[in-house]
Symmetry: D2
Subunit: 478 residues, 4 copies
């Protein structure tokens, strides 16, 4: 990669490290800046061109196979392994593991990784190429944080090397999983084994034949008086007898092969006691811990996805071959207005993501709950709008396989659902904010009392005590 030809051909291109928002600069080390520029080049020059190749390899694998769908999932495109090798040579590996909590990663802060993840978000294969792909990232954190040495040796090591992949099995089809206390998969102790029965779906990544280990949440103590202590998280190797992938789910018509989203049945699945993570009844603890930094990786990548949508948008509206009514679209005011709205929304959302990352770096994910929830809601909404504008500019091409927009829209739409639907996060933000209510009413009352004093001091008519009473909730005395 000594001679970058792609970005060089983009005359006047300013490297990513020089486009860091001013306010984020103090948080970025020189080493991170260099890595950031490498990431940008790797993504633009190697990964984005590989996206189409990856898709074609999957497609041809499917066509070559007797059962097309199965073929799509059983293949593993060579291009991804070649990219992984290249990424490791460049030192672009495991950047996601935050320096202040883990020694296994590349030693960056969440904010630094956030800047890099933006670029990973511009390509479908880049995250995996750098071993920074969900759900492995969150799963590796679980192992690093809560795993026994044995568990680490067996699963974390090959995950960190990119040799295997993993899935996190939580959601279930028959209940409202947005409230995780509803999950029903049973988990019963028999001897020194746990026996699991039930079903899981939206088990993302389970379609990949390299996916070797499932981290599974199930109900181990259904009668516990605390509904947050009824669950455990346990390791289930994908090849354990009784585990059966019932079917793969599609997202707006895309099967996302070979990664995919599994609907999996568990029929008397037995695993040894030693597969338990952290301890029986501590499932919620594990899940909360997992959702730390992990929860904003999607947001970080979504900023990049929005930037990519913007690039395709701008490319189209300046296409000299496309002149409705005699002018390229860029000459139409409503198009420029949409460009401007998109620019404003992306830039604002990026700052929110970086601030959330900085807050996690400052303390931990718990301290940044509000910031993470805000970003969880704001970013996908922004992404959907930017994508919709770009799609509309392309007309038919925008919804078809000819641009990356439709696929990005499909993934982006799920961001409003995964890790809890928007509504749950909104409710949390709303309730948290609402706690200020009583103190604020007191403050406003005190300010109004002070006003009354000043009325007297300046000899003004004081007309009506109503306002104060109304705010404080008292009744007017006539």
């Amino acid at each position: 990669m000594s001679v970058p030809y792609l970005i060089n051909s983009d005359q006047g291109h300013i490297p990513a490290s020089q486009r860091i928002p001013t306010i984020a600069k103090p948080f970025v080390s020189e080493r991170a800046k260099k890595t950031l520029d490498l990431v940008e080049r790797f993504v633009e020059e190697e990964c984005v061109p590989a996206d189409a190749v990856f898709a074609q390899q999957i497609k041809e694998a499917g066509e070559a196979h007797e059962h097309n769908v199965a073929g799509r999932f059983e293949s593993h495109p060579q291009v991804i392994e070649d990219l992984k090798k290249k990424a490791q040579e460049l030192g672009l590996w495991n950047m996601f593991l935050p320096a202040n909590h883990f020694k296994e990663g590349a030693g960056f802060s969440n904010l630094e990784y956030g800047l890099m993840a933006e670029y990973l978000g511009k390509s479908g294969v880049a995250s995996e190429a750098c071993n920074c792909a969900a759900p492995d990232t969150g799963n590796m954190e679980v192992f690093a944080k809560y795993g026994t040495q044995e568990q680490k040796d067996k699963w974390l090591k090959p995950l960190l090397k990119g040799e295997i992949r993993s899935a996190f099995l939580m959601t279930e089809p028959q209940v409202a999983s947005s409230d995780a206390t509803n999950i029903e998969m049973s988990m019963v102790k028999e001897g020194n084994e746990w026996v699991l029965n039930g079903q899981k779906w939206w088990s993302s990544g389970a379609g990949d034949k390299r996916c070797k280990i499932y981290i599974v949440m199930a109900k181990s103590d259904p009668n516990n008086s605390s509904k947050y202590k009824q669950q455990s998280v346990i390791l289930v190797p994908a090849d354990t007898p009784g585990v059966r992938i019932h079917r793969m789910l599609s997202v707006m018509g895309f099967d996302d092969a070979p990664h995919g989203h599994g609907h999996i049945y568990f029929d008397n699945v037995r695993v040894p006691e030693s597969n338990m993570i952290l301890g029986a009844g501590r499932g919620f603890e594990v899940v909360q811990g997992r959702l730390g930094p992990g929860r904003i990786h999607h947001a970080m990548r979504s900023i990049g996805a929005a930037e990519k949508a913007m690039e395709w948008f701008l490319a189209r509206i300046n296409d000299p071959a496309k002149k409705p009514f005699g002018e390229t679209l860029s000459k139409h005011g409503i198009i420029l207005e949409r460009v401007a709205k998109s620019r404003i929304e992306i830039d604002s959302a990026r700052l929110a993501v970086l601030n959330a990352a900085a807050k996690i770096d400052e303390g931990d994910a718990k301290a940044a709950l509000k910031e993470i929830a805000e970003v969880k809601v704001e970013v996908p909404k922004m992404l959907m709008e930017v994508l919709d504008r770009a799609m509309q500019a392309y007309g038919g091409a925008g919804v078809s396989q000819d641009t990356p927009l439709a696929k990005m829209w499909s993934s982006g739409r799920t961001m409003r659902i995964v890790d809890g639907p928007d509504e749950v996060h909104m409710l949390q933000i709303g309730r948290n904010e609402n706690k200020r209510g009583d103190n604020l009413r007191k403050k406003i009352n005190a300010q109004q009392e002070k006003s009354k004093e000043l009325y007297r001091k300046y000899g003004l008519k004081y007309e009506d005590p109503l306002q104060l009473n109304r705010i404080s909730g008292g009744k007017s005395k006539l």
Copy 2:
């Protein structure tokens, strides 16, 4: 102010300096943090209670005067002078003048002032109390930046001391002033005097009898081949013969007395040559310079206005006396959703404002054109939405004189118009972003060429060159 009673009564209040967004912290000095906390206390304990008093003093002055309207404008509430004295004692004076450009101010950066201005935005009188009120702030920058020593002595000094006020006269009723090249007021040299004829409106602050000096843009060279060199900016003392305030304009029914918005006639108004700012034909230069930091002061204060709307919103929805259908509004999910949306939008907008300020501090306002324009559009839109939600929660009280919301809405709405309507800024952002179009098309094409190579390398069928051609604008060859 040794014993803060208001905020203390707000149990558990965390001082402003401890609520600075994580990502902004490296930019804030210890001195600024102390001042910030002082500003917060001064605003909450002194200024907010004075707002109602100020309104009542104006009202009674109007009623006491034969011509009510005139009376409202001729009065000057004593409370404002008392606050100014207090502010000076506390060292809260002229914080707006950025340290890196001016020695006359309090020595803060734009970002630091931005944090303070948020609090000023929570009260109608606070900005003036700290001598940080528009349009004086921008006008003082003009004097400090471009004024002759004589001009500085005569006008800047009393402005810095808060002894007089000023107005900036640019907009004209009979043309589309959103494009400043349209302004028509004529300015003709006769001997060593300039003679001005025409009219101006939305001359904010001109209603105040303490407003002594107008900075006026007029057309001095209508035939200049460059339409950006036809204008000059010149000083016109308010009491110059020929100047006549024709009428005061209202904003959504509010007259904003005594400050007000003047519609002013100029009838053979003569001023000496020495009143010229910077030089004849350099009007645009002055105006651009003025719009530097000044342009985001409104945005900074608007963040505070939004926070204040939020406070009233939260106070209401927790009012135990207000239970539609048996529950306080805070128990209704749609209300909490609105709280959450508001919180997300405010926090995101604040980061955008602070980043724009940081960018100005890093270089100058010119380097931050994009960031300023973004904030100019995003913030008032956010403010309107937050205010609307709060107003709706109050029902009738929300649109009446009983809450500050209606008045804040009225001012906020003008923010989408002043300093150029949103549309002008959107167009600028859109055009600027659009410049990337051609390079992006080239980049995407190069990436697609690289894909083609990879197809060959991996032995894949290469189905269709269409996509490349379409993006590049070429025609398909069959």
Copy 3:
């Protein structure tokens, strides 16, 4: 009015009767069409020009009076009486009283009146000029529907003649009146009198010195086990001892004089038993009855208000004197897009209003609850958006006294609050719609069972019973 000069000057003007939406035509009689055209001409030629005159007469009355505010409310502009005379001569009087329920009116259906009310909504004085102004319209319906002969003789007759005006006192400041069961004004029987104590606000119309009668809701039986039987509605002449207008409320800075919105204290106010409407404890019945057709009059007028905003919008964007960046605003694509959006929204909302009116005409207001609620929510939202676009096109003029837009915005905003805030109507619509839920789940299940049969019939693999179970709520059996 033999020679219409205004509309004639609008070359090519197509009279209102010829612009009735196709789908509404079968509902409009020839007589109504003729009246509609007369209304249009009367409004455009007489009323709209009188609006500015009315405002000026109030203003000068205020300035001539020692206490300006009082003066504004005590005056009664002569222009309104002159218009009333003219309207009566033209036969444009009391068109609002629906033919199928009342003999006292002009004999039109609600749909026919709806078309006329659209034009009344284009002028501030037109409704009163035709004796079709709120709250008199609703109050006259109350008298006509529930009044005793004595009550009718005393109050309905002069109201129908336009000799006096009236107010409806329901909302109270200290409670959440959006839920009317919360109202607290007490009403105690002493001998053959009722004694009222408490306060009311947003008593619209109470500012007018011609307002002679209040229809008041109060709590006569606070301990009744049904919270819908605790209230009564009773007549209180405005000059009854103990009644005191405490103050007038403003709406976004407008006092709406002389009509106004009163905050009124009741201190031992005594009225005879015979003033009771319908009977003690039947207050809710009266209120529901009042909200029949009355509730959509606002919506009908709002369509006209939106059309007027559109007219001013179109006038401005084609003003040859206003060319930002060298072109009238109508040449800018984003402006035309806003015109188009407005046109679509207005036309769609009008159909919803007319359909609701047709549904009331078909049966009664109760049968049209859903349609009325829909219109109650949709129309003000539409009006606000159309107004906002027009305001923005005008820049400063749009928020000032120089266009009718700011005042219209102010009134329009209250439409989202009066007669119950949007949220209450949304909840009602939502709950009503939601009743279908269980039947729909059954239907979908039955459809899925039928699918299963068909799978068998056509020899297809039936993959998974999950979907059915999920929808029906059953649990998956493995």
Copy 4:
């Protein structure tokens, strides 16, 4: 179909004919009402259950075929033929051809068909089952309106019988086809043949092996001075040598097999002169004629699609097995608000569609240009929002194959693009509306002149001529 079991199981179901909006009732004959109820039952009881079967038949056909994709397109599900037979027996056939223009159809008005089409829109197979599917409907209108007797015999007859299908080839990938003057496919006369070269895409329906005839727009006279006379429309049988389906396009990941959207190459495709429609150079005329009623069929069906989304939405939020945080979703206020918004938007959009249909029935499609354009923009926007709310309520299921929502979203999204993107229609509406601008300015000026007279008459101060001048564009004279 003697015993309807599905809808009967929906206790209290009110037949479609009794739920016609009041305002549309006068336009619906008794015969149409009976047919409407039959359509409802046929769709709910036969077609909706067949949708899943149709999908499965396609899927299995694909899996059974060596080349999966080809298999999906070459199959023709038996279920559709069985439904067609049933529909014909019930007399539900060709309802789309409007009675006032064509004798070949079922004799209904556009409004009557509009009510029926709503129900067809609730199932993926219903339109084809009743021979009312696009693009055949529009194509049949072309034949009926412009075809020679020979063309009618050869193509219209089998189309009316549902024996073959057809496609309309207009859009081209390499140009901005939203402006149809840009199309480039060449068409050269050689002897008594026309020779076509070029490519088309989004040729919907071309994937179906039963699609026998293409109606093709091409450039026959590229040098004609009128750019609206350069095009012709000509018939090209699908099996003509030189025609090649290059590939099928996907929509958000769906291939829409077997119907599909073709990208087709024309390589020296020769057809006889007699295949010309209407005459050389009259292509635009044909296209305009085709877009008459046809353009709102999509809108009609989209109302039904939205109602179906609503049904699934309501089914889910009342699912007793899905209780996030202890309550079914229907107990959450924000969900009910979304239900209410959806109900309001659907009902309003339906009225707009029916009014547009009534206007077409009253005159012709040309007279209803505005109404059709409005509906073209409003309806898909509404549909997208209703679908999005339903999808969100379902969480993962909403974007997967387990509900019909994702597929409906995908089709619905294209409605904002097909038959011209929204923006083109908005521009047309905006420009048309804008023509009123000058007359409106004159009217407002005349009204203001009249105000001035009244000021004099009533002896009021006339303060300022500015307003008049500003509106009229004149300059103020001082």
